[in-house]
Symmetry: C2
Subunit: 249 residues, 2 copies
């Protein structure tokens, strides 16, 4: 197994970091790695905001549900879907780009572009011996994040990426069974097969928690997911995105 695949398979989300800022060189390596990712038709529909300001980090941590590691880390990146520059370009080149930019298709393109870039950043950081944690919690209140980071219309902050020197390692969590995620030639729609795979996974996850909590916790994955999804969260998102003039048509 080569070093790259080792790094990828060794991933775990880390949530405790030394209070030691990344060097400018480390930041540059991480961002340059992000930019090297593929981009749909060369559109490069994303931006990255690095947050150093302590007050802003503190506020972001609050928004994310008081996650301490959003404040205490080596660096905090925010990855944004970004079609703002393309709307500026439209004006400059006198082309009517608005219907495209406001389409669900281009919203998807921007999300995909930003995420491909982010994963490159994550892997690059991990290869440097740093730990990472994606922070979806900033989506708890994007109106506030937008004010804080002064993002214009057509820009949606998607998630944070906390990076730093880890002080506490965690275990890797087992993923869904390979054959449940990977289909050949067509999607497996046989509900019986599907449910058997899920049950096998539920047992695996239940023992995973049981072993690690001395039996205090043994929830199944299905149970976790059902409880999480039963609770409506961030239902303002559609309105927020559309108010920022994306995903409209």
């Amino acid at each position: 197994m080569n070093e790259v695949i080792q790094t990828i398979l060794n991933h775990r989300s880390l949530r405790h970091f030394e209070d030691k800022p990344l060097t400018d060189e480390q930041i540059k390596t991480i961002v340059t790695s992000a930019q090297a990712a593929a981009t749909s038709s060369f559109i490069q529909a994303y931006s990255i905001i690095g947050v150093k300001d302590k007050e802003k980090k503190k506020k972001l941590a609050e928004i994310a549900g008081n996650q301490e590691y959003v404040e205490k880390n080596g660096h905090f990146f925010v990855f944004c879907a970004d079609l703002y520059r393309h709307s500026i370009i439209g004006e400059k080149e006198q082309k009517d780009v608005t219907p495209s930019i406001e389409s669900t298709e281009k919203f998807m393109v921007a999300l995909i572009d930003a995420s491909l870039a982010a994963q490159n950043a994550a892997i690059a950081a991990e290869s440097l011996g740093l730990g990472i944690c994606y922070i979806g919690g900033i989506r708890n209140n994007l109106e506030e994040v937008k004010k804080l980071l002064k993002t214009p219309e057509r820009v949606i902050p998607l998630f944070g990426l906390a990076v730093g020197v880890p002080t506490k390692l965690t275990d890797k969590k087992p993923r869904l069974p390979y054959e449940h995620v990977y289909h050949e030639d067509e999607y497996e729609q046989n509900t019986e097969v599907y449910l058997t795979q899920l049950q096998k996974y539920d047992e695996l996850i239940s023992s995973y928690y049981e072993e690690r909590t001395e039996g205090k916790r043994k929830d199944r994955w299905s149970e976790q997911m059902a409880i999480m999804l039963d609770r409506k969260s961030r239902m303002y998102m559609k309105e927020f995105v559309q108010k920022n003039k994306l995903n409209l048509k």
Copy 2:
């Protein structure tokens, strides 16, 4: 520079492959790498369909605008946003997960999850000496792709990933200026700064093409983007996604 960062920075989209199928072991390494990516709240909202069937590959190539390399490669993966399994789980666990699953928030989560996984797959493949090309062209006609791959509701095929032994290398394309993509503490909204950066980049891209085409082509990036976005494409996407019961509320 370590091997991981070297692999990341060395990325280029390759479009000519040997007619030599990937081994099962290579496929397994690539998919397992994909699964190792971070996932929002452990939701794992994606699936991957590996297409081996020659007829299906041929049809996918046609859909993607007659891109030969969709048909001729070592393996063709299709990455899908997938909340189908979560709707099945909702029924099984008797929880009302529908409003969550149909939210724009969870649609975004599924797109992000699928893309993080895909970029791991891409990097893993490249580390094995294989070439890759993302294929957004399958979104030209998702109704057909859906029929071909038999994807259920709540599943959206997002893009393909053609992987194989490359027969022809291409050059790396320069990305947007670092300082244009990476902002510190807040988004740079000064239009003058913004336009100066774009102009610098336009010149760079124009010379890039000029050098490589003996002067036949020297379009600027802004020009390319404005022309591309002026042409409305895949405007059916919102309706398709909503018909498949995602991004509704």
